[in-house]
């Protein structure tokens, strides 16, 4: 090897020794900057106030990001499918809201900004207690045990009113006199920045955990439990630690929930909330650390924004799953990361044209699908709701065949063209992959 090449080799070796976080850290800073600035994009300059809806939505996204990432600590990193993860979120939330009431009554002194610590502690304590029992098993047995425990806890939350407050839940006031920064947290923007700060802390900690032995061993036990035992770790204990830590972060998410909504009800521990975690993690991508973050943002948008526009949002969610499960089981993050080899080989630009050829027909097919679903719903369920189907302030007559034909044509046409284009795209992709692999080996 000549001197420059040897030097390149050394430089590469050195850089691969740096932890990935520091080397590739700039995307995180970009995301953080966007998160800080985004609410101002929706600032209502005429009334001089923020959009409460946007702030609420983004706060929800923030705490769901923490929740989904904590779930992925079990699912993606340890290979444990859990149907009861909401227990830790809910219990963290309940303890936090009781703490808030205690601060309000003067019985406890704790800065508002440190309330998530209480949630985290509650989460981790319960995760240790419950986790010790449930981690005896793994795989489907683990999933079913968590299902059973989840059902028991949500039934208990309805039955025992002393702690859980009945179906009305427990309320508290987040405007407390113990803020370190002297903030009242009555304004949505202040709450949002508090949640953002804690989300950033939680994400950083969880990222760190994937780099240390405990996180790595969780991966190892997931992949080959028997072999991990030969290395000297007890897979059961590794699972247990991972569950306990994931409970810690779920508890923090629960505390953020309590601060954001100032009420915690049995809905925070039930199966629907656990299912949400599963959906977000899977849609975002199980195999990539930041996958669940994307999933959390997407599912929150679907649930809280699209549902305002259409009562058929569940159909879209269902279809999204099915399509993703068949064509993109690695989630959205998986799809993005599949482009990584091209990015590193600087061949990404070769895909621009193929994407331009496949995206428009896909768009058309989606429009057609949405149109058909909305027409169906409007004609059957919504017909007497006093809301006629409107597009661009234009009322659409659902009884005439016109709209139906257009929607069906869009869907069919779009699908056919997409199908043809996808074959072309696939060949381009595989050629590109082969070239990139060849190029890499040559280097």
């Amino acid at each position: 090897m000549s001197a420059p090449e040897a030097q390149i080799g050394i430089a590469e070796r050195r850089s691969t020794r740096l932890p990935t976080i520091l080397r590739g850290g700039w995307p995180w800073l970009v995301v953080l900057a966007i998160a800080i600035l985004l609410p101002w994009l929706f600032f209502d300059w005429t009334k001089g106030r923020h959009s409460g809806f946007v702030l609420s939505l983004m706060s929800q996204m923030g705490l769901m990001i923490v929740f989904a990432l904590s779930y992925n600590m079990q699912m993606g990193q340890a290979g444990l499918l859990s149907f009861g993860h909401a227990i830790f979120l809910g219990l963290g939330g309940y303890f936090t809201i009781h703490a808030m009431n205690a601060i309000d009554a003067g019985a406890l002194w704790l800065p508002v900004e440190l309330l998530p610590v209480i949630g985290g502690l509650a989460g981790v304590v319960f995760a240790i207690v419950i986790g010790y029992i449930v981690t005896k098993q793994r795989g489907t047995a683990y999933a079913m045990i968590t299902l059973g425990v989840g059902e028991l806890v949500s039934a208990a939350a309805l039955m025992f009113n002393g702690f859980f407050g009945g179906e009305g839940g427990v309320t508290a006031n987040r405007v407390l006199p113990t803020s370190i920064f002297g903030l009242g947290y009555s304004a949505g923007i202040q709450v949002y920045y508090l949640i953002l700060a804690w989300t950033a802390i939680a994400v950083a900690l969880m990222l760190l955990l994937t780099q240390v032995p405990i996180g790595r061993m969780a991966n190892a036990c997931r992949d080959n439990s028997e072999r991990a035992q030969f290395v000297g770790y007890d897979p059961r204990l590794v699972r247990f630690y991972q569950v306990a830590l994931s409970g810690l972060f779920a508890g923090i998410a629960g505390a953020l929930y309590a601060i954001n909504y100032e009420i915690v009800t049995f809905d925070a521990v039930n199966a629907v909330m656990s299912a949400n975690a599963l959906l977000m993690t899977f849609i975002g991508g199980v195999g990539v650390f930041w996958g669940p973050m994307v999933g959390a943002v997407l599912v929150t948008l679907l649930q809280s924004w699209v549902s305002l526009l259409s009562n058929s949002w569940l159909v879209y969610v269902g279809t999204l799953f099915i399509v993703m499960v068949i064509y993109a089981p690695g989630g959205i993050a998986g799809l993005i990361m599949a482009h990584r080899p091209f990015w590193e080989a600087r061949r990404l630009s070769a895909l621009i044209l193929p994407y331009l050829r496949i995206v428009p027909p896909a768009l058309v097919a989606v429009l057609g699908f949405v149109g058909l679903v909305e027409l169906c719903t409007s004609a059957t369920i919504g017909s007497h709701q006093g809301k006629a189907l409107q597009l661009f302030h234009h009322e659409i007559d659902t009884s005439s065949p016109q709209a139906w034909v257009i929607a069906a044509a869009l869907l069919l046409g779009g699908l056919l063209v997409t199908r043809y284009q996808s074959r072309v795209f696939a060949t381009t992709w595989s050629t590109l992959t082969a070239e990139t692999a060849q190029g890499a080996t040559r280097q």
């Binding site: 039955m159 569940l314 995206v359």
Partner: protein
């Protein structure tokens, strides 16, 4: 795939301005309930009935020279979603948010509305409660900004007790095991002790919410206890399966319920329930026939021409008449003035009785009816051939219970 999701959003974003009905110069009323998912029928049917009522009110001038417009928000039975919807309501300066189903959602709303109105005095909202019956919402948790237009659980308990015939001496209680069911249990016992000390409670049972499929062991217990009447606040399958099991086992008993008249109830009970099932209701379509009120009968029967379910929420017309009168009295759509005008308001309702929105706790005081499922009616329910026939009328002043509310009024 990411592109597909992205394009979905773009498409919906473009269509968004159109999909939410928007017209200038109307008074908007927000309404939130489950509109999707397994419990979608609750919100969906309420929405349709409310729209019919609003058309009637608008035909009579609306309020302040403007028409009312209903804006719906799906809360998917989750309090967090209802609170996000509330933020949109506040953003759009909609003066009223209505909600009918779920005391957990109601508790979240009453608290959030109170806090919002303190923290953002320029964007206040009034919460009109059309069906969440938890008693504490007009007692310990009362709020100036909350107006309840349905009898609360304690009042309904008293109505049930008042409806018991003289010859019933042994009752069995079965309720769902959460705060509502537990408080109903307690309140029924209190009012039995007060008004019908001759009645013995031979059993009281709490069942986990929505989990029981087979009620036959409970029926066995009811029979063994020798009960003559069953009092239950159950709703949904917990109610219909219980009654079905009782009828299957040939139980010689009458059923006093709170929710047998809601969508799906009469269908589930079926013709076998004739003469056995009673329900507490604010209105039923046969009352206008019984009282000879032709206009009202015409109005309610016209609903059936365009809808395939009962007009069981026709009583909501009183709510909207209050809203109409409240805005007219306040002279503006300012929520604070509206709330001040609404409390203490007295109106004559569509049945000719004087009804009040009580000032002390913002609880509606009005008449209630107890109906029996019977063949002997003009308007049947859900095409079963049987409908609700009034057997008892309980006047508003009979159930004007005292309150522990210490209401804090805004100083402005």
């Amino acid at each position: 795939m990411m592109w597909r999701a992205l394009t979905l959003f773009v498409a919906i974003f473009i269509a968004a301005p159109g999909l939410t009905a928007r017209a200038a110069d109307t008074i908007k009323v927000a309404y939130t309930d489950p509109l999707s998912g397994p419990f979608a029928e609750v919100g969906d049917q309420n929405l349709k009935q409310m729209q019919y009522i609003i058309d009637y009110i608008n035909a009579r001038g609306g309020a302040l020279g403007k028409k009312f417009e209903l804006v719906s928000f799906d809360n998917k039975s989750q309090p967090s979603e209802a609170l996000i919807a509330l933020k949109t309501v506040v953003d759009q300066n909609i003066p009223i948010i209505m909600q009918c189903s779920g005391s957990n959602i109601a508790a979240a709303l009453i608290d959030a509305v109170e806090k919002n109105n303190i923290r953002n005095p320029d964007s206040r909202v009034v919460y009109v409660n059309c069906g969440a019956v938890a008693t504490e919402l007009t007692n310990e948790k009362c709020s100036f900004w909350h107006f309840r237009f349905d009898a609360n659980a304690a009042q309904k308990a008293e109505i049930l007790v008042r409806a018991l015939p003289e010859d019933v001496k042994k009752v069995y209680m079965l309720n769902q095991d959460y705060l509502f069911g537990q408080s109903l249990q307690r309140d029924v016992k209190t009012y039995l002790a007060k008004l019908r000390s001759d009645v013995q409670v031979v059993g009281d049972e709490l069942i986990p919410l929505g989990k029981i499929k087979d009620f036959s062991p409970y029926v066995t217990k009811i029979k063994a206890a020798g009960a003559q009447a069953l009092i239950t606040g159950n709703w949904g399958p917990d109610m219909s399966l219980l009654i079905k099991a009782g009828m299957d086992a040939g139980l010689d008993i009458t059923y006093y319920t709170l929710y047998a008249h809601l969508g799906g109830g009469p269908t589930a009970i079926g013709p076998r329930g004739g003469g056995k099932v009673f329900v507490v209701q604010p209105f039923n379509e046969n009352i206008s026939v019984e009282t000879g009120n032709k206009d009202l009968e015409q109005w309610t029967s016209d609903f059936r021409k365009t809808h395939d379910f009962d007009f069981y929420a026709a009583g909501f017309r009183t709510i909207f008449e209050f809203i109409q009168a409240g805005f007219n009295k306040a002279g503006s759509t300012d929520p604070t003035k509206f709330a001040e005008a609404l409390e203490g308001l007295k109106l004559t309702d569509m049945l000719g009785r004087e009804v009040t929105m009580r000032r002390d706790d913002h609880q509606f005081i009005g008449e209630y009816f107890v109906g029996i499922f019977s063949k002997d009616v003009k308007y049947d329910s859900e095409k079963t051939g049987l409908g609700w026939k009034t057997v008892k009328t309980v006047e508003g002043n009979e159930i004007a219970q005292p309150t522990t509310c210490q209401m804090k009024r805004p100083s402005s």
